[in-house]
């Protein structure tokens, strides 16, 4: 045999210390690459494109031409590609791991949805094309509308609103239009104290004053307090169901009856529809208007990954006031109802320039069709099961805010951290070191130091167990007084604890070049 001893060694060598006592010359840490701002690495003089000298020419700008530098960074193509690829590797998204952000419903975005949305008949069309050339796209909108109305048990839907808060605006504008049509000048919107912050913001934006309804000790709306606040000044009531404590408002029918008896309308915030999809229909619960977040419940990307989409469903009482445009079937040909036709037309008008987020409609309908009605129901059941598995696995070491099972999200507060010196913020930062996106913290405001965890139906039991191991481990360490790993967290993130206070007090909103 020949003895070749020049090859590459395969043993691991001497064991290195866990924490190196040197800094690299480059500032990189192995595959964790330090990345400056694009303005700091590029300049307009060194772009990857050679533009020929334009020679002598007559300036036609009348002395208004730019005199200083434009300040636009220029980079050769490989450097530009590397810059954005390096940044993307620092990102954490649902494609990286569990994203338990309560009230945000970060569920998996199935790749089938993406494939459908890229079909040229959906992806390469323009909103100003003649409707005769986009009949397939309009048919998809019709079918999506049908699924949404069936799932919610409501007779009308407006697809155009662009996100949840825009959907709220649409619903409250329809309520105002309906009240104006009957000559009623009601001025108040009631909102429970556990509401999403967008609810009072929406009501205020629509010109209403907002009154808060206190919750009961069990985390639900106080029906008696609501009844005593209802009078002929109340235009509507905005309630989320399941609510932001992750609880089903089981008195919802009585709440709806009380609202209607007072001559007001019932707006339901549908942000948490994922928990009741296929199980309960808002139309049966007495709801007059509700938005759906396609980007939550129906798995279209969000959180920086894609635009939102917030279709709004309406009861018969509000259907005539829904916004334009919408798809109409005229003798077998689909067309868009685009204009308000005179005074007899009761629509609230138009909320968007065109018809809404076509790409999200394709993705949402793909999710619906690939699951089927039975699959959607199971998705809701699995989302609730996952949250209850978390709740049951954590409530002996953390403090669950309310007794009993939850819906699709589990709410904890900071009582279990009392006297440990660890805050909810510290705990959330320690979750980053564990490789998880932190849960929603300090919301809802009705409990102190809230931690709202929503695992969704996407996670396997193995993934949930891994998350539970980290949560339990951290909770026990905090109680045992080991505060260092919390106070300094995150240790393993690209950047350590950021000064959020200073960032909010003195925000730097643009790049300022060095002098």
């Amino acid at each position: 045999m020949s003895m070749n001893n020049q090859g590459r060694p395969t043993d691991t060598g001497e064991t290195a210390p866990i924490t190196p006592d040197f800094e690299s010359y480059s500032g990189h840490k192995g595959l964790r690459l330090a990345e400056p701002l694009i303005h700091e690495i590029g300049n307009a003089e060194s772009s990857g494109v050679d533009v020929p000298d334009c020679g002598d020419f007559d300036m036609a700008l009348g002395g208004l031409q730019r005199s200083g530098k434009m300040g636009i960074p220029g980079l050769p193509e490989p450097d530009a590609v590397r810059h954005y690829t390096r940044l993307s590797r620092k990102n954490y998204g649902i494609d990286m791991g569990l994203f338990p952000l309560g009230s945000c419903t970060m569920k998996h975005n199935p790749r089938l949805n993406e494939k459908m949305a890229r079909l040229p008949g959906f992806a390469d069309i323009h909103p100003l094309q003649p409707v005769s050339s986009v009949q397939g796209a309009l048919a998809l909108m019709e079918e999506l509308s049908h699924w949404i109305m069936t799932l919610t048990g409501m007779p009308a839907v407006a697809l155009s609103p662009k996100a949840g808060a825009h959907g709220e605006l649409c619903g409250i504008m329809a309520i105002r239009t309906a009240l104006e049509a009957r000559g009623d000048a009601r001025q108040v919107i009631l909102v429970p104290d556990s509401a999403h912050g967008t609810n009072p913001a929406t009501a205020t934006f629509c010109g209403y004053s907002v009154k808060s309804i206190p919750g009961k000790a069990d985390g639900r709306v106080d029906l008696e307090a609501l009844k005593s606040a209802l009078d002929d000044t109340v235009a509507g009531v905005m309630i989320t169901n399941p609510n932001t404590c992750g609880l089903f408002e089981h008195e919802i029918r009585d709440i709806a009856d009380a609202i209607h008896d007072a001559g007001a309308f019932f707006y339901c915030d549908g942000a948490n529809f994922t928990a009741i999809m296929g199980k309960a229909r808002p139309g049966d619960l007495g709801v007059d208007a509700m938005h759906l977040n396609l980007h939550k419940t129906f798995s279209t990307p969000h959180g920086g990954g894609g635009p939102g989409s917030g279709p709004v469903v309406f009861s018969a009482a509000l259907a005539d006031h829904a916004p334009i445009p919408y798809v109409m079937d005229v003798g077998g040909a689909l067309t868009m109802k685009e204009w308000k036709d005179g005074e007899a037309d009761s629509t609230l008008g138009r909320m968007t320039a065109f018809h809404g987020q076509m790409g999200m409609y394709v993705r949402a309908l793909s999710y619906m069709l690939s699951h089927g009605s039975d699959g959607l129901k199971q998705a809701a059941e699995d989302a609730v099961l996952s949250a209850n598995y978390l709740l049951a696995s954590l409530k002996d070491v953390m403090s669950a805010s309310f007794d009993g099972p939850c819906m699709h999200e589990a709410l904890f507060d900071d009582r279990f951290l009392k006297d440990t010196g660890v805050t909810t913020l510290d705990f959330a930062k320690a979750m980053i070191d564990e490789g998880f996106h932190p849960m929603t913290m300090y919301f809802p405001l009705v409990v102190q130091g809230a931690m709202l965890i929503e695992p969704t139906e996407s996670e396997s039991k193995g993934n949930l167990d891994q998350f539970i191991r980290s949560m339990r481990g951290l909770a026990l360490e905090a109680k045992a007084g080991k505060v260092e790993r919390f106070k300094g967290a995150p240790f393993y993130a690209p950047l350590r604890r950021l000064d959020e206070t200073q960032a909010a007090r003195k925000p730097i909103l643009r790049y300022i070049p060095p002098e």
Partner: protein
């Protein structure tokens, strides 16, 4: 004379001029204050109407007009340096001064001992 409300606001009463701020307990519960929105001088409020907004790293909260009356002065320093609410809640971190239209509205409010007992009962 200083009075306190259950909404964690303090009122320093000098004749019919009342200086209003939030208590030390409130600023601790809010966390680092990052923004304060003050009412217009000359605006009138009814008792318990929203008069100002205080925003911390955790949440935004309304500051109520604890009595009815007219805004005489506002603490403009808070707009440049909202951290005064944290560092001097009971002093330089005052929000606004009101001209009270009904002094009897303050009769039922707590004094300092009463408020301290009230806060102790919350914990």
């Amino acid at each position: 004379m200083i009075k306190f409300t259950e909404e964690h606001e303090w009122l320093l009463v000098d004749g019919d001029t009342v200086t209003v701020g939030i208590t030390d307990y409130a600023q601790k519960a809010l966390g680092d204050v990052v923004f304060v929105e003050l009412p217009e001088v000359g605006a009138s409020f009814g008792k318990d109407e929203d008069a100002a907004v205080v925003e911390s790293v955790k949440a935004a909260s309304d500051v109520f007009a604890p009595i009815s009356g007219e805004i005489m002065d506002v603490n403009g320093a808070l707009e440049d340096d909202p951290s005064l609410v944290n560092s001097a809640a009971m002093d330089a971190g005052w929000f606004f001064k009101m001209k009270a239209s009904d002094m009897s509205e303050m009769d039922a409010m707590m004094d300092e001992t009463g408020y301290n007992d009230f806060v102790a009962g919350l914990e």
